[in-house]
C-alpha cells in the first residue's frame, strides 16, 4: 500500500479565498493510499518546504502531492525539496488548485469539489509513479562546422576560441565562400576581402581548428554529444605537406582556358589552380576533368617543374571518420541562375548579368581590377539598369519569399557603378525597397540622393537586344503603370537567394527538417532559431534563410554559443521523461513486435532497431529501441504503439489509466 502525503497550499488568499482548503485536506486524508494530509499558508515558503520535508521523513512517504499552483510554476521547486528530503523527485506531483481552480471559479462547494477531484487525480497518479534517474549522456567535446563561408568561419572561431576543438569542413578548395567574391559590403562600403581575409588566416592558424577543405560530409550517425561523421577528402592530386604554394605549377600549366568559377566565368584559370590569390589554404588543386595528363596521360608539366615535388597524380580520395559532439550547418546559399529568366534573355544576352558577376567586375581583385567593363566588349557601360526582385517574391518562379539582401546590394551596386563610371546612368527597377537594418535606409537614400541613382517602382517585363543595345521594357507603377522603355548597355539582375542544390539531400543525411524551399528549418521559429529539430545540430547563415553578413555573423556566434553551452557540461543530463520499450522475460523478451511503424512517427529519429540475441549470439527478434539522448518525451510513439510496448516515463499508461479510473 502506498504512503502518499498531500500538501494543500492556501497561497495566501489566492486558493484559500475560494477553495475550502481544510475540506480538501480532509477529503485527501480519506483517499486510499494517503497517510498524511495538511494545509498551509504558503507551501513554497521556507517553513512550508520544511513541513514537507519533515512529513516525508516522519511518515516515510513514498509519494507526494502538492496541491497548489501550476506545476509549470513550482514543480521544479517541490521536486527539489522532495529530493532534498531523500525521496526521488519524480515521486512528487502537483495538483493545480490555483490557475485551474481557485482563480477561475467562484467560491462554493462546486469549486471545492473540483479541487478535491484534482487532488484525487494526482494521488492516483503518484501511486503509480516510479523513481526515475536523470539520463546522462557523454559528450565528445569537438564540433564539426560544415561550410567555410563567413558563417562557418565565425562559428568555428568562436567555438575554438572557447577552447574546443573544431573540424571545419569546406567542399571547395578554399574557405571564404561567397563573401570572398564580394567587392565592397553595405552599408559601409568597406572591402569584403579586407575584412574577411584576416579571419580566414586566423582559422588556418588556429591550434584548435582542423581545416578540411576540398572535403564533403558523406554520412552522419549517432546523436547529440555522440556523432560519427564520415568525411570524404577529395584528392587534390598534390601533397599538401610539401606544397609551399609558390604558384609555378599554375603559371606553367598549358591548359589555361577554363572558365573561372570564382570570377563567375568572367576570367579563365588553369587546370591546376588555386581558386583565388588569398585562398586558404594556398594550395592548388588539379581539375582532373581539364588536366591534359588525365585526358591523354601526357604533359606532367607541373610535376616536372614543381620545386618541392608535391604533385601526386595517383592520389585517391580519402575517407575519414570523426567523432564529434555537435554540428553547425553553415552551408550557405546559391543564387537563381540567369538562365531561369526567359523574359531577360535566358542568360543568352552577355550583358545581362547577375549580382555576383557585378561583384567580380567591381572587385579590385576581379578580372577587370575593379573597373566596370561590360562582358560583351569590355566597354564601360553608360547606362546600367538594375532589376531588383529578379525571381524573389515571384510565385511563378517558385520563390514567394523575399531574398532580403537584394535591395541593399542593388543600391550598393548602383552606387559603386556611379562612383566608378563618371557620368554613367544607373536605373533601378524595384517592387519595394526593404532596407530594415542599422543605417540601411540611410544607405539607400544616399544612393538616390547623393549618387543620383534613379529608382523606378515597377517590374521589368522584358529585356532584349536591339542594334547592339539592351532594351528594357517595364512600367512605372508610381506613374499609374505608365510603360517605361530604357536603352541600356548593361543589365544587372538581383537574382533570388535560393538553398544550395543539394540542401535537401544533406538535410536527409543529417535528419534535419527543411522548409518547402529546402532551407534548413529551425527547431522553433521564435524561441529556437539556431537549433534544428535534431538535438546537437545547429544552424548558421543563409542555409536557413536569406541573410546578410551581419545577421549571418550574429547567428553564427549564436550557434557557437549553443555549442559551447553544450560542451561546457561534463555530460548531458536530461529529464528522464522519455519513452522506453518494454523488455521482459523469455520467451517473449519484449511485447514489441518490431513492426517499427513508430520509427516513422518519431519527430526526433530517436527510434532505431535493436536485435535481441540469445547466448549463442543469434538474433531472436528485432524490436524498437528508443535513444534516450534523442527522445524528447512527446509520447507520439506511445499512443501509436498497438501492443503498448512503448511507454512514456512520467506519463505512463499505468499513471494515466489510474487518473482516468478515478474521474
Amino acid at each position: 500500500m502506498s504512503r502518499v502525503g498531500v500538501f494543500v497550499c492556501h497561497c495566501g488568499e489566492n486558493i484559500a479565498g475560494t477553495v475550502d482548503v481544510a475540506a480538501v485536506a480532509q477529503a485527501a486524508l480519506a483517499m486510499p493510499g494517503v497517510v498524511a494530509a495538511l494545509d498551509y499558508k504558503y507551501m513554497c515558503s521556507d517553513p512550508g518546504q520544511t513541513m514537507l520535508k519533515k512529513l516525508i521523513a516522519d511518515e516515510r512517504l513514498d509519494g507526494v502531492v502538492v496541491a497548489a499552483c501550476s506545476p509549470r510554476m513550482h514543480e521544479p521547486t517541490f521536486r527539489r525539496t522532495t529530493l532534498e528530503s531523500g525521496l526521488n523527485p519524480f515521486l512528487c506531483e502537483m495538483a493545480n488548485l490555483r490557475e485551474h481552480c481557485s482563480w477561475v471559479h467562484d467560491k462554493g462547494p462546486a469549486t471545492t469539489a473540483k479541487a478535491i477531484d484534482l487532488v484525487r487525480l494526482q494521488v492516483e497518479k503518484v501511486k503509480r509513479n516510479r523513481a526515475l534517474a536523470p539520463i546522462r549522456v557523454p559528450i565528445t567535446k569537438k564540433a564539426l562546422v560544415l561550410g567555410g563561408g563567413i558563417a562557418g568561419i565565425q562559428a568555428a572561431l568562436d567555438i575554438a576560441n572557447a577552447g574546443n576543438p573544431v573540424l571545419l569542413v569546406e567542399r571547395s578548395p578554399s574557405i571564404g565562400g561567397h563573401m570572398s567574391q564580394l567587392s565592397e559590403t553595405f552599408p559601409t562600403l568597406d572591402c569584403s576581402q579586407c575584412i574577411l581575409t584576416p579571419r580566414m588566416v586566423e582559422v588556418a592558424r588556429h591550434p584548435q581548428i582542423t581545416l578540411l577543405t576540398y572535403a564533403e560530409l558523406e554520412k552522419l550517425e549517432g546523436f547529440i554529444g555522440n556523432f560519427r561523421a564520415t568525411i570524404r577528402r577529395k584528392a587534390r592530386k598534390i601533397d599538401e605537406s610539401l606544397c609551399n604554394g609558390c604558384g609555378v605549377c599554375q603559371q606553367k600549366c598549358p591548359v589555361k582556358k577554363i572558365p573561372d568559377a570564382f570570377n563567375e566565368g568572367l576570367a579563365n584559370r588553369s587546370a591546376i589552380y588555386v581558386p583565388f590569390a588569398q585562398a586558404v589554404p594556398n594550395k592548388p588543386v588539379i581539375d582532373v576533368a581539364s588536366c591534359t595528363f588525365f585526358k591523354t596521360s601526357k604533359c606532367k608539366a607541373c610535376e616536372k617543374l614543381c620545386p618541392t615535388q608535391a604533385i601526386r597524380f595517383d592520389q585517391e580520395d580519402k575517407i575519414e571518420v570523426h567523432e564529434v559532439g555537435a554540428l553547425v550547418l553553415a552551408t550557405g546559399y546559391r543564387t537563381m541562375p540567369v538562365a531561369n529568366f526567359p523574359e531577360y534573355g535566358y542568360g543568352q544576352l552577355t550583358d545581362v548579368i547577375d549580382g555576383m558577376k557585378f561583384e567580380r567586375l567591381a572587385s579590385a581583385s576581379g578580372p577587370t581590377g575593379g573597373a566596370i567593363k561590360r562582358p560583351s566588349d569590355g566597354k564601360a557601360p553608360q547606362h546600367v539598369v538594375f532589376i531588383a526582385c529578379a525571381g524573389s517574391r515571384d510565385r511563378a518562379k517558385g520563390v514567394p519569399y523575399c531574398s532580403k539582401i537584394c535591395c541593399m546590394y542593388t543600391a550598393k551596386h548602383a552606387m559603386l557603378y556611379r562612383h566608378k563610371v563618371h557620368g554613367g546612368k544607373a536605373t533601378v527597377f524595384y517592387m519595394d525597397v526593404r532596407a530594415a537594418g542599422k543605417s540601411y535606409d540611410e544607405f539607400v537614400r544616399r544612393a538616390i540622393e547623393v549618387d543620383g541613382v534613379s529608382y523606378i517602382r515597377g517590374r521589368v517585363s522584358r529585356v532584349y537586344e536591339e542594334d547592339g543595345q539592351l532594351v528594357v521594357k517595364g512600367v512605372d507603377t508610381l506613374l499609374g503603370g505608365e510603360p517605361v522603355e530604357i536603352r541600356a548597355d548593361m543589365v544587372v539582375l538581383a537574382t533570388a537567394v535560393e538553398a544550395q542544390d543539394d540542401a535537401e539531400k544533406l538535410a536527409q543525411t543529417l535528419h534535419v527538417s527543411y522548409d518547402p524551399y529546402h532551407f534548413f528549418a529551425e527547431a522553433h521559429p521564435k524561441l529556437r532559431p539556431v537549433e534544428t529539430n535534431t538535438a546537437g545540430i545547429f544552424l548558421a547563415g543563409a542555409c536557413q534563410a536569406p541573410r546578410d553578413i551581419p545577421e549571418t555573423v550574429a547567428q553564427a556566434s549564436g550557434a557557437a554559443a549553443k555549442v559551447c553551452g553544450l560542451f561546457s557540461q561534463p555530460e548531458l543530463t536530461r529529464e528522464p521523461v522519455v519513452a522506453v520499450v518494454d523488455r521482459q522475460a523469455p520467451p517473449l523478451f519484449s511485447s514489441c513486435t518490431g513492426c517499427l511503424l513508430c520509427k516513422d512517427a518519431c519527430p526526433y529519429q530517436a527510434i532505431s532497431e535493436e536485435a535481441i540475441k540469445n547466448r549463442a549470439g543469434e538474433v531472436i527478434k528485432t524490436v524498437a529501441q528508443v535513444n534516450p539522448g534523442l527522445c524528447q518525451g512527446c509520447g507520439t510513439c506511445v499512443a501509436l504503439c498497438r501492443t503498448k510496448a512503448i511507454d512514456l516515463q512520467g506519463f505512463s499508461n499505468q499513471q494515466l489509466f489510474a487518473e482516468l479510473m478515478c474521474i
Binding site: 517473449l588 511485447s591 513486435t593 518490431g594 513492426c595 517499427l596 511503424l597 513508430c598 520509427k599 516513422d600 512517427a601 528485432t622 501509436l640 498497438r642 501492443t643 503498448k644 510496448a645 499508461n653 499505468q654 489509466f657 489510474a658
Partner: protein, 266 residues
C-alpha cells in the same frame, strides 16, 4: 486447379519451397487451409470461388514458419497482406513466394516488387453486400447505429477468432492481453466488447486490406469486418494511403501532412 497442383509439385520437387499453403476440401461445401509438403499431397489442392480465406495469416505463425520457405496460394487480398506484413517487417522476401491463379494459369511472384506490380493492376473493391451494409449504417442516425452495434456486439464472446484469423493481428502480445494497465476489460460484457472492437478497428486503420476474413471467422456472424472497413475507409478517403499497397512502410498514421484537412478542430 490442375495447373496449381502441377506448380505445387514442381516447386516441392525442385526444393524451391518446403511448403505450399493452399485450400483443400473441407466439411461439406467448406474449404479449409491445407499445408502441402510433398508432391503427392499436391493433388488435394483445390481452387474455386469458395477459396476466400486470407492465408497470409499463417506466414507469421511460428509453427508454420518452422517448416521453411513457403509458397502461398494468394487471392488479391492475400497479396496485399503480404505487402503490409513486409512493410511491418514480419515476412522476408526470401522466405516466401506467392501463387496467383490468373486466367487458368498460376502466376508465380517471387519478389515484393512483383507483388506490388501485380497488386497495382488488381481491382480493390469490397463485396457489394458489405458496401450496402456500410451505406445503410451510414444512413442511420447515430442512435440507431449505437443500437445496431449494441445488439450485434452483444453476441460477442471474445473468442478472438477475428483476431486469430486476421493477417495483421500478428502481435505476440495483443494489447487485449496486456494487463498493466488493463485498458480493455477482459470480460466480454458490453463495454469489454465495444472497446475491444473499437481498438481493433483503430489498430487496423491504414493497415487493413479489407479481406473480410475477420467477419467470416466470427462464429456468431457479427459483421465486425465492417468496423475495420470503416476505419480503413476513413484513412483512404482522407489520406489516400491504403493498407497493403506497398512493401515499404507507408502507414498513414505514422506520417502526416502539415495541411491535412479537417473541419472539426476549433
Amino acid at each position: 486447379m490442375e495447373s496449381l497442383q502441377r506448380k505445387a509439385q514442381e516447386l516441392l520437387a525442385a526444393g524451391t519451397v518446403k511448403l505450399v499453403i493452399g485450400y483443400g476440401e473441407g466439411t461439406g461445401v467448406r474449404r479449409r487451409p491445407i499445408f502441402v509438403r510433398t508432391g503427392d499431397q499436391a493433388g488435394s489442392l483445390v481452387l474455386d470461388p469458395a477459396c476466400t480465406q486470407n492465408l497470409a495469416t499463417y506466414l507469421t505463425k511460428a509453427e508454420v514458419r518452422a517448416l521453411g520457405r513457403t509458397a502461398l496460394v494468394a487471392t488479391p487480398s492475400t497479396l496485399r497482406s503480404i505487402l503490409q506484413l513486409a512493410a511491418e517487417r514480419q515476412v522476408r522476401e526470401e522466405n516466401l513466394l506467392a501463387l496467383v491463379p490468373l486466367a487458368g494459369t498460376i502466376k508465380e511472384l517471387t519478389t515484393f516488387a512483383d507483388i506490388e506490380a501485380m497488386v497495382a493492376t488488381l481491382p480493390d473493391e469490397i463485396a457489394r453486400a458489405d458496401q450496402e451494409m456500410l451505406t445503410q449504417l451510414g444512413a442511420m442516425s447515430v442512435v440507431e447505429r449505437r443500437a445496431f452495434w449494441e445488439k450485434e456486439l452483444g453476441r460477442c464472446v471474445k473468442c478472438y477468432a477475428c483476431r486469430a484469423a486476421c493477417p495483421m493481428c500478428y502481435c505476440e502480445r495483443c494489447t487485449m492481453d496486456n494487463n498493466r494497465p488493463q485498458w480493455v476489460p477482459v470480460a466480454s460484457h458490453a463495454l469489454g466488447n465495444l472497446e475491444y472492437h473499437v481498438v481493433r478497428a483503430m489498430h487496423l486503420a491504414g493497415r487493413c486490406v479489407r479481406c473480410g476474413t475477420c467477419g467470416a471467422a466470427c462464429p456468431h456472424g457479427i459483421p465486425i469486418h465492417l468496423l475495420t472497413f470503416a476505419s480503413e475507409g476513413s484513412v483512404r478517403r482522407q489520406f489516400g494511403q491504403p493498407g497493403g499497397a506497398s512493401s515499404r512502410p507507408t502507414y498513414a498514421l505514422a506520417t502526416f501532412k502539415p495541411d491535412d484537412k479537417e473541419d472539426f478542430i476549433r
